[in-house]
């Protein structure tokens, strides 16, 4: 039972992170190695907004801080795309190196501002409840309904609204979309913002109950990548399913084998999938 709940929480968390990562890759061809950084900023900025702007105050200021943080990260991501990435976007190498360098840079700034030991962010919902005889922390639990709202909203945006359909078109059939007059740059711009906001939301929600440290960008990034290749690039549903698979796999391995090895799960997934599923995803050329 515990496994079921914790696994679902993790799956929900990962799906928020991974979906954005996959989206920005299939729309803009950008392997955004700073994606984990947006997740991290979601956590840190919530703290910053809360402690600097509001001082203290109840749940409402916390929620507001979280929302501000998510929006700011979205804006930052759009700026990063527009200013730093767009000029040299045709070179995959450049994009990878630049986003990774940015990730390190931001990580360094956070380490300067907050030090390397964890920063604590207050919870939106305190306490815990008991489900089926298992004690679950509320803050973790709310991830599930929130994800349950956000992801279908995203789907609706992509499939039903005009802007969203344009973005979807670029992801599925780039050339066709261009011929139809869709601006790939505009699509990538919007997607960068949305994708980063989702990651930031995940960070903001999980911040109270996890380790907020300057290194927290690396492993979510690696996991997002593992989920992307497991679930298939360009398939939203695939990524969501894969997120839960990875989430459960981690929880299971921590129960069955060892706590420390959970972090290795995603890495092993990457290595195994890349090595044993060669055709199809491999040799995938962009554009």
């Amino acid at each position: 039972m515990e496994i079921l709940i914790i696994g679902s929480v993790r799956g929900a968390l990962y799906s928020l992170i991974a979906v954005g990562f996959v989206l920005v890759f299939s729309v803009g061809g950008i392997l955004n190695l700073a994606h984990g950084t947006y997740y991290m900023l979601g956590a840190y900025l919530t703290y910053i907004f809360y402690s600097l702007v509001f001082g203290s105050g109840g749940v409402n200021s916390l929620i507001l801080s979280a929302m501000l943080s998510v929006i700011s990260v979205g804006i930052i991501a759009c700026l990063v795309y527009n200013i730093l990435l767009r000029p040299h976007i045709q070179s995959i190498t450049y994009v990878m190196v630049m986003t990774l360098a940015i990730a390190l840079f931001v990580s360094e700034i956070m380490s300067l501002l907050f030090g390397i030991s964890g920063t604590s962010v207050p919870s939106l919902i305190e306490g815990s409840i008991s489900i089926g005889g298992v004690k679950v922390i509320n803050q973790q639990l709310i991830l599930i309904p929130i994800t349950g709202l956000i992801l279908p909203a995203l789907w609706f945006f992509l499939k039903k609204t005009k802007t969203g359909q344009g973005i979807d078109a670029v992801a599925q059939q780039r050339t066709g979309a261009i011929l139809m007059g869709v601006s790939v740059e505009a699509a990538t711009f919007i997607t960068s913002g949305v994708s980063a906001s989702l990651a930031a939301l995940a960070g903001a929600l999980i911040a109270p109950v996890s380790n907020v440290v300057p290194e927290m960008w690396l492993f979510p990034l690696i996991k997002a990548f593992a989920i992307a290749i497991l679930g298939g690039i360009g398939s939203l549903v695939g990524s969501i399913i894969a997120s839960f698979v990875v989430g459960y796999a981690e929880v299971l391995s921590s129960f069955l084998i060892s706590e420390q090895l959970t972090e290795l799960v995603a890495l092993v997934v990457i290595v195994l999938v890349l090595l044993f599923k060669p055709s199809g995803i491999m040799g995938y050329k962009l554009g």
Partner: protein, 325 residues
């Protein structure tokens, strides 16, 4: 075989600027007695080894390797363990460690080089991260977060130690120059330009890519071993993603695919990094920020700038290119 011809080609195509830098570094201890400066330049030389060894793979095939730290730290730890647990002399431990790194390079290259582009890059990052995690899990052997201290240095004299690093750097430089101008380098360039067309020319491209990866790993491993013993300490930072990315940035800013570029880039930027120690708290941030700026301005690297390539004089001075027309 190709050796004599390769040697001739290397000598006639040497970059004067590169040679100048090598000589200038050798003369430093003659000019200055200051241990502090010597240590800085020694570190720069080691980073140059890292950057050059990275370049022979990524600069020449355009498959981005984000896992250099795997070989650097891996060889560093291996050599450190050989030295502190088994009392191997550094002169033996480092080559052994590098050899192990090279062999691992063959294996990992075989596994990952069938992947292209971002998948290869992420796979290399994943491997390096696995090793990073493992160093914490097996802390009895690796000293966990603190690493292994008390490693034996090469010599007792810091001045001589510097020359050890310098000699290794020069040897690595010339090995890579010869390799790059030989058939191996030409084939790698062809693979970079068009892998299918290279296959159509009857070349087993997988073999050459793996070979480049192995050599890159071996030489990075030598650098890692030299680093470990010259600092007398090896820690998890040498396995970190940060190190990998710094090496990538140094080599890219210098200029990919030239060997000289990474040499110059690594040396100049490392010296700059150390000279920022006066603002130690902000040093890493300023340094990283600067690297980002430089990559933004010159994505192909400084040595590969259009203005240099188009000028007869400059392209000779920096790249050793003699233009015929």
């Amino acid at each position: 075989m190709d050796l004599k011809r390769g040697l001739a080609r290397v000598i006639e195509n040497q970059s004067p600027f590169g040679l100048l830098i090598l000589v200038a570094m050798a003369l430093l201890p003659v000019i200055s007695d200051n241990i502090f400066y010597i240590e800085i330049v020694k570190l720069a030389a080691i980073y140059a080894i890292f950057a050059m060894s990275w370049d022979i793979l990524t600069g020449y095939t355009h498959e981005v390797n984000f896992g250099v730290a795997f070989f650097i730290g891996g060889a560093g730890y291996f050599s450190g363990i050989l030295n502190s647990f088994f009392s191997f002399s550094p002169y033996l431990a480092v080559p052994l460690a590098a050899l192990a790194a090279g062999i691992l390079g063959i294996w990992i290259g075989y596994l990952t080089l069938r992947l292209r582009g971002p998948y290869f890059a992420m796979a290399t990052l994943a491997f390096a991260s696995i090793l990073f995690k493992l160093s914490f899990i097996f802390y009895e052997f690796t000293g966990g977060e603190e690493g292994i201290s008390g490693l034996e240095p090469f010599t007792d004299d810091p001045m001589r130690d510097f020359y050890v690093a310098w000699v290794v750097m020069v040897v690595v430089y010339f090995i890579l120059c010869i390799y790059a101008r030989s058939k191996h380098g030409i084939i790698l360039k062809a693979i970079r330009a068009d892998e299918d067309a290279t296959q159509s020319a009857g070349i087993n491209t997988a073999y050459y890519k793996i070979e480049a990866f192995a050599i890159s790993g071996l030489l990075a491993g030598i650098g890692g071993g030299v680093f470990a013993h010259s600092q007398m300490h090896i820690g998890p930072t040498m396995l970190s993603g940060y190190l990998s990315v710094i090496v990538v940035l140094l080599a890219m800013i210098g200029g990919m695919g030239t060997i000289v570029g990474p040499l110059v880039g690594a040396i100049c930027l490392s010296i700059l990094n150390e000279s920022l120690r006066m603002v130690e708290e902000y040093r890493i941030m300023i340094y990283t920020g600067l690297l980002i700026l430089l990559i933004y301005l010159a994505p192909d690297g400084l040595i590969n700038l259009r203005s240099i390539k188009n000028s007869r004089i400059l392209s000779f001075v920096f790249l050793g290119d003699r233009k015929s027309t």
